[in-house]
Symmetry: C2
Subunit: 490 residues, 2 copies
């Protein structure tokens, strides 16, 4: 257990009962049992009134028939049956319940949801859901999406809380494909009991979570949210995607979770105030999270681009300009070092074009030179691994470049061969993107986070002092120049 919060019981229960377990392949209660068994090593009790055994496990007609204590009950039955089985869970003294079942406030059935809330009131039981997917970590997987259809990501340092199960699960699938790891995935749905505030607070304290990603349609208590998030963001980054910002989107939120979405500006302002990095698109959410979880923040946003594909340098420079990132001139030492590395005809400038025949060694020397440059805080490397000269060594070179302590992100664009390398690099903790513009936006997120956590950089302060001093001197000079004129007048 990583923290002492009572949400631990959802993520590290001692035993699990699955109410609505099924032996029919293709059914939700079937895939869910499969996935629990593949992840959870403690006792599992399938509950099904029409079976005494499911997949070799003893099944029970009701949770109250289980002879051993049950820590966590997962409910996946029709909405109208949920109160009945929840009552049995309470009788059984389970510590936590995940209600997967839909059909509550999200379809206007507020009464049904209030009934669940009233049932657990004053009881020593917590409820996640209804209308959710539950949780996924390396040790517990309550998702009903079959594993052959939805790949699970490896263990990692990003935790993800999501109001929408669908969006959450598919992102999980996609980032699993990319080789990005996940620490805790929590789908909380209608948030009848446990809501985003408590989860956020929990993940804020969780030692295994280095960055938090959240998909949210509604926030339950704005001021409380800001209070909680403001405490977390100086220590670990939060990236949030707010859905339902448009009029039509907000209408859809209402029929999706039964909550009003609230005006978009209010959310953006709250995020800003709390130091949360806002994702404008689904793509941004994990693009930012994976950079923030693995790379140091940027204080001034001064980056260099290194590539063996000239056009990529140009595209990256364009994107950097749009994102307000600076591509400073390289220092004389860097230029000198680069001249020893690149062919005679190439020009050592930022973006650095190593030219089409660059091999891993040339990248290594260039990285060393650029990473030693005081003007450079972050490096975007765009290796075109499809060239005949560049081989898999480039992955090791980029991995080893971590020793320079600068923020490094990579762009690797291409098909299967390239993706294989990208996944290897991702596993080493270097975030990889398939488009230069995506990689640049991730660097911009590191700069945004830098503004939240880091004090203004000393150079900048110095610059400001010099600027001020110059202004003062100029004023004095002006005054001095004006004085004789006045004298003449007299």
């Amino acid at each position: 257990m990583t923290t002492s919060s009572n949400l631990d019981v959802f993520l590290t229960p001692l035993s699990i009962a699955l109410i609505g377990a099924s032996r029919t392949p293709g059914k939700v209660g079937y895939s869910m049992l499969e996935n629990i068994r593949k992840s959870f090593t403690g006792p599992i009790y399938p509950i099904n009134p029409e079976a005494t055994e499911i997949g070799g496990l003893n099944a029970f007609p009701s949770i109250t028939d289980v002879p051993e204590p049950v820590d966590l009950a997962i409910i996946a039955v029709k909405a109208e049956i949920v109160p009945i089985v929840l009552d049995e869970c309470i009788k059984k003294k389970v510590r936590a319940v995940i209600v997967i079942s839909a059909g509550f406030s999200e379809i206007g059935n507020k009464k049904g949801e209030e009934e669940l809330q009233n049932m657990i009131k004053g009881k020593n039981v917590r409820l996640l859901g209804p209308n959710c997917l539950g949780v996924f970590t390396k040790n517990i997987d309550t998702l009903f999406l079959p594993r052959e259809k939805l790949k699970r990501p490896s263990d990692g340092s990003i935790s993800f809380l999501t109001q929408s199960g669908a969006v959450g699960a598919t992102i999980l699938d996609l980032i699993g494909f990319e080789g990005v790891g996940i620490s805790k995935f929590i789908s909380y749905g209608n948030a009848a009991d446990v809501n985003e505030l408590e989860i956020l607070s929990y993940l804020g304290k969780d030692m295994a979570t280095r960055a938090i990603a959240m998909y949210v349609e509604t926030i339950h208590d704005g001021p409380e949210f800001i209070k909680i998030a403001s405490k977390i963001t100086p220590i670990k980054p939060i990236v949030a995607l707010k859905a339902g910002k448009s009029e039509k989107g907000a209408e859809a939120v209402l029929s999706h979770t039964g909550h009003m979405a609230g005006p978009a500006q209010v959310y953006s302002a709250a995020f800003k105030q709390s130091g949360i990095i806002e994702a404008q698109t689904t793509q941004d959410l994990f693009d930012f999270a994976k950079a923030l979880s693995s790379q140091p923040p940027l204080r001034n946003g001064r980056i260099a681009v290194i590539t063996n594909g000239g056009g990529f340098g140009i595209l990256a420079a364009d994107a950097a300009s749009r994102a307000g990132l600076e591509l400073p001139e390289l220092s004389n030492e860097t230029v000198k070092a680069l001249k020893n590395v690149i062919p005679d005809y190439a020009v050592p400038k930022n973006p650095v074009d190593l030219t089409g025949d660059a091999n891993a060694e040339r990248y290594e020397s260039a990285l060393k030179a650029v990473a030693s440059d005081k003007n450079i805080e972050g490096i975007l490397v765009i290796p075109l691994v499809q060239t005949p000269e560049l081989d898999e060594k480039i992955v090791d070179v980029l991995r080893d470049a971590k020793i320079y302590g600068k923020s490094i992100v990579a762009c690797m664009m291409g098909g299967e061969y390239t993706m294989k390398h990208a996944r290897r690099l991702e596993a080493f903790g270097i975030p990889v993107y398939d488009m230069p513009e995506r990689a640049v936006k991730a660097l911009a997120a590191l700069r945004d986070y830098g503004r939240i956590v880091a004090p203004p950089a000393p150079e900048k302060v110095e610059e400001k002092i010099v600027k001020k001093a110059k202004k003062l001197l100029a004023k004095k000079a002006k005054k001095a120049a004006k004085k004789p004129v006045k004298k003449k007048k007299r």
Copy 2:
């Protein structure tokens, strides 16, 4: 041959000589020979002064030693040797030359490039490059990127001209992975002879090309470019990505191709005037091209979203609002039809949430209902194929939905299982995206193209007439109301 332009010789030569062919794996001249052999069925003559045979083919010390006529010569030797072998090509009376070699105007060696230009002046030979990758079609592949590193796309209807070989090739690789087909890929580099104007004009007339994508850093003749593009865009769409729009980017262009990039606004204005859809990012370029090459344009931008993942509907609605697309109310008939399809508790609204347990049949009925709605021009389908209930039949359902004649794009987000389905669907001519926002932007591109080619929609005209009529009537009524007042005054 699809047109009578003299660029045909680059794409459908009768024989090819490769000057700089190599038998050393890992060398440019080795991979290139491999790729030419894998694509081209006519006679191939490797030219190498130190070999009499390469990979079973007779090799010759010089192109002038080849006993048969040579149609196309590909030059991949050091820059300083290029004039020597080009001279031999002219003597051999080849009809076309592709100069792969770099080291000309892009590194400030303008003299070297002018020398090549002077050599071919008045001769019956055309030159592509230097500093380029040459061409790729199903019948000819001059790319030196090894096929095991860079997958070639299937034959398709998008043609792609690119100034940067690196950007062009990696995009080719990525879209090949996605299952998107390519008709003609032309990398023209420094454009010493054949430039983007001529290629554009050629592709405009090419029957196999249904949409043109272009990556451009510089345009050689603005007014001529506008003239040529303006003739093409009413017939087939052009999507252009202009690199070097920022100051730093423009500097990089100068050292990449030796040309001034020119101010960004001028390019954007020229694109607009020519009816070209401008891609703002690398991702946009093919995202737009694949929609434009396969789907009818939208006249009013009225779309519906159908999904079995509620959150996706919200995200898509948000993105549509940002892109200026409308999600109109569904007609009474559509609502009625949808009610028969979706579960009792779901609300038939746009975005249409078929709820998490939707199967392919539910999608089929919903698509039919929505596609029959007069208010709806385009449909974004977001099937979450990872659910237990949805199977591969969804691909056939979407393919068959083409019969409704509406613009259809799909978003399929997820890992390998999902991508397999996405590729199948892509092969059927439905563009698929991995993010709802990307799919919406593609629909917006269809709307943008609709504004270029389609007359204003009749409904809109009618609306305008009604509006005008109402205004007139209101004016009359006002006048009539004022008259008595005036009378009173008298």
